[in-house]
Subunit: 591 residues, 2 copies
Amino acid sequence: MLQTAPAAEASAWLASFSTCLANRDIDALLDLFVEDCYWRDLVAFTWNVKTMEGKAAVADMLAATLAPTSPTGFALVSASGQSGNVEGWFDFETKAGRGQGVFRLEGGKCRTVLTTLQSLRGHEEATGGTRPMGVRHGADRNRQTWSELRAIEQAELGVERQPYCLIIGGGQGGIMLGARLKQLGVPTIIVEKNRKAGDSWRNRYRSLVLHDPVWYDHLPYIPFPPHWPVFTPKDKMGDWLEMYVKVMELNYWSSTEVVKARYDAAAKLWTVNLLREGQPVSLRPSQLIFATGAYGPPRFVDLPGANDFNGEILHSSAYSDGSKYSGKRVVVIGAASSGHDVSVDLWEAGADVTMVQRSPTTVVRSETLMELAFDIYSETAVTNGIDVDKADMIAATTPFALQPQAQRALYDKIRARDADFYRRLEASGFLLDFGEDQTGLMMKAYRTGSGYYVDVGASELIIAGEIGLKAGVPIDRLTPSGIRFADGTELPADAIIQSTGFQSMHEMVARIVDRETADTVGPCWGLGSGMRNDPGPWHGELRNMYKPTAQEALWFHGGNLALSRFFSKFLALQLKARYEGIETPVYRTAL
Amino acid sequence: MLQTAPAAEASAWLASFSTCLANRDIDALLDLFVEDCYWRDLVAFTWNVKTMEGKAAVADMLAATLAPTSPTGFALVSASGQSGNVEGWFDFETKAGRGQGVFRLEGGKCRTVLTTLQSLRGHEEATGGTRPMGVRHGADRNRQTWSELRAIEQAELGVERQPYCLIIGGGQGGIMLGARLKQLGVPTIIVEKNRKAGDSWRNRYRSLVLHDPVWYDHLPYIPFPPHWPVFTPKDKMGDWLEMYVKVMELNYWSSTEVVKARYDAAAKLWTVNLLREGQPVSLRPSQLIFATGAYGPPRFVDLPGANDFNGEILHSSAYSDGSKYSGKRVVVIGAASSGHDVSVDLWEAGADVTMVQRSPTTVVRSETLMELAFDIYSETAVTNGIDVDKADMIAATTPFALQPQAQRALYDKIRARDADFYRRLEASGFLLDFGEDQTGLMMKAYRTGSGYYVDVGASELIIAGEIGLKAGVPIDRLTPSGIRFADGTELPADAIIQSTGFQSMHEMVARIVDRETADTVGPCWGLGSGMRNDPGPWHGELRNMYKPTAQEALWFHGGNLALSRFFSKFLALQLKARYEGIETPVYRTAL
């Protein structure tokens, strides 16, 4: 590293930090932090995904974890910033493996520090210079070729040999976690109800494309190539996932449904009953990971009089082809992402569409988001040496508690920039909001995973009246021919599509394990912000995601492509450590 | 660029070079070169693949090409070396597009310069910041989704709409060229006789793995990921190619045989008769590219008495499964790569194998080659910032005429290092050589594509007598039960496998077009070194490969993965220029 002023300052702070940790001198260490400090740890110290907020929480965590973690070897990798307000990236080691971290100083003291476990000692991934040879040189009459060994693995795993991990759900989340576990050598089966990998994308509505740009969407190990479109169409995404499963050599059981799972705490094994292509199969994995969708099973709102209604009622997740609604009157209930997308898809197919908006929605134009919010996930970032792994670390450095402030500032800019657009949208009667605390889309995504739309075209159709809108009036009941609202108006409908989101993933636990276990574990996702649909207490991290839950050997994985990519690494390391019998003392607090 | 001493020297030389070119002052320019100079041009000046050797050849080329090329904008990118002996990398522009080059000075004057065309102005590939958006924002009742457009392209191309290029052969060469053309927007169909992309690898013998390491083998656009094995097993390679064809959206007609092709010089169109899944189809492409295999159809040696032989005779390219030869006596004729590999495969299957060696073979141990010859294609190179594209340019800077000298020095090292191995191998009776001029494996590969083996295990079996050897004795004739040699000895055999290599690819032209066209075009591959099987005159580049041939609109592509990767770029640019109607004055000489 070049000896610069920030580097000297960062080195000095890191040396003090390191000395305090080595001396187990927590009091002295706290002197290096500001009062309002945050220590975010991803598995390195806590064997958990956890943010300690304030000095007392940091002290408590260190008292519990310093001895088992034994951190050493702190070395500055890079530093930047102005005197007193310096950011430093560092490597370190723990008893279990190697870590990476980032600290930010304010007035010479630490405001935030991130510590992450990157690999387990003696169990590093074989990559680059340590990749496998792929062939045993020399002649061997007992040679088994790659394809023979692969065929044996596929035939035996789950039959003669039990997987250590069973991942329920073979969408993007399950696939990425499966790929990490494969590279770590953890025997894993992914089960997926669809016929082929990628079908969870292919089966969606015709016009679906990713709303996030390609730089944000990479899978681990095989990034999208540089000619890949900015916004991936759903079928192209499906093909990529199918290719990925094959090339990464995942053990992927498609056309497989999970019937029942129960945990034997004495044997520390699950028994999972499956229907694999219709045939009953029973597996005994040690770890069970739910990756059944970002948020859980479809949520239906109760529609009084639904039995009277003569038309079709379906959930947006079951909607794929608009052509049969051409010339029909379709009401879409819900005004978040899928509500908007499905409405456009229906409009394009020639349906007469009305969107029923029950509560306000955060809308941001895609171009605006690309310009203002994806700065570290962009071609410019790549040109400046910020690849997706570095961008993920940068994104992780800011604890959830500090994000609203930055997001509010972002949305001040967004609203100023698109003032005319928002004025016209509100003039159409659309109920617009930016969250209770004006923090916009991303915080809604973390808190509830709902209530927002990245505008790629629907808003102008709403403004122009091409997509009808019924906003803010409660539904009274369905009639044989449509919907009657509390204000006495009626909306005729041949079909009703509930774009009403998804339940928490722990509802899948209730279905597959039992209600008691689901209740013990509690809901997934959300931060405990105390905002609508995200009740407190404050958690500081996403509830139950990527980390130990209240049920031993039960885990949750999911989120968008970016979160699935980043956290699959830390979840895979937690599972690998258990597979290898490495001690994993989990630091838990009531918070 | 940092101002270093080499940079200053390189800048000064490049400025003089640039001025001479701008002034069309060839005499002054020649003063910047040493007498024994080389200018290698890949499409930038010559619309050809050509090395000018000596000042007179350089002068002749420039006299013909300077006006149409109008090179400008020479800018140094990097420089290294010692005073007087500096290497400089530079960018430049021509009338048609952008170029990259490398020059090497000796005593302040230019010994070698490489000029390459990298892109065509106004027809640059959409990549990185110019990649497609992938979605048209806004609602559109006439929207065609990605999958619909792709289905239309596949249904129409070759039916309602003619491809501009037809590539015969869907192995690695055809696939890489097809990918480049796709990214350049040239409508192209690849036809392949096998059922699936990748089958040309899958169908080979069981134990086959690439003999070259992964760093040398990347395909364009989607490099192998960092956990990919060093030596790719054949079926894994097959899967990768199959994935690649799908993800790169190539128009790939499998199960398709080419029956006949004829050129209409007036219409400037080929008529190509195909059997696509058994159904006759006729195509009218403008350009026909043979990519039917590195060197051409299988070569069979004449075996007198073959009709008397009671056993099976087959070519190594048709050999895939050794298990049926277990316990049988098999004679393998030929002692180059496939002869060795097939012998090991048979030995592993439990056959009693004897290799018949008719002429000396160059053998190099794989580990040795990895350590001494693949320095720029290695993990170390990657760590030092030499990615595969940079390595390809480095490799291209040395003209063929200067390679024997470097190769001789390399083989002096190799022979010293493995002296004991070579002593033991020769003691077994094996006929070892390093080429007539002691230049080893790589020069044999360029000159004839035959006569060498990268040892991954066979040699020790030969040394141990596990694989029998009959070396240097001509075959007299076959008998009902085996082979009788000129020395009167007999070798009993249940089967004979001819591992006798391949004919020149122009023999495929004779089969598919006609003998006259094949003779007009002449053989493919080889340098004209005057060595055995590579008759003069000296060409300085690979005969007929990747460049215009004597037959308008007929091209050849092939070679190993590395050559196919690198030259597919320059062949694709030549085809794209013609597709766009850009002037492509080809500089040809008798040489």
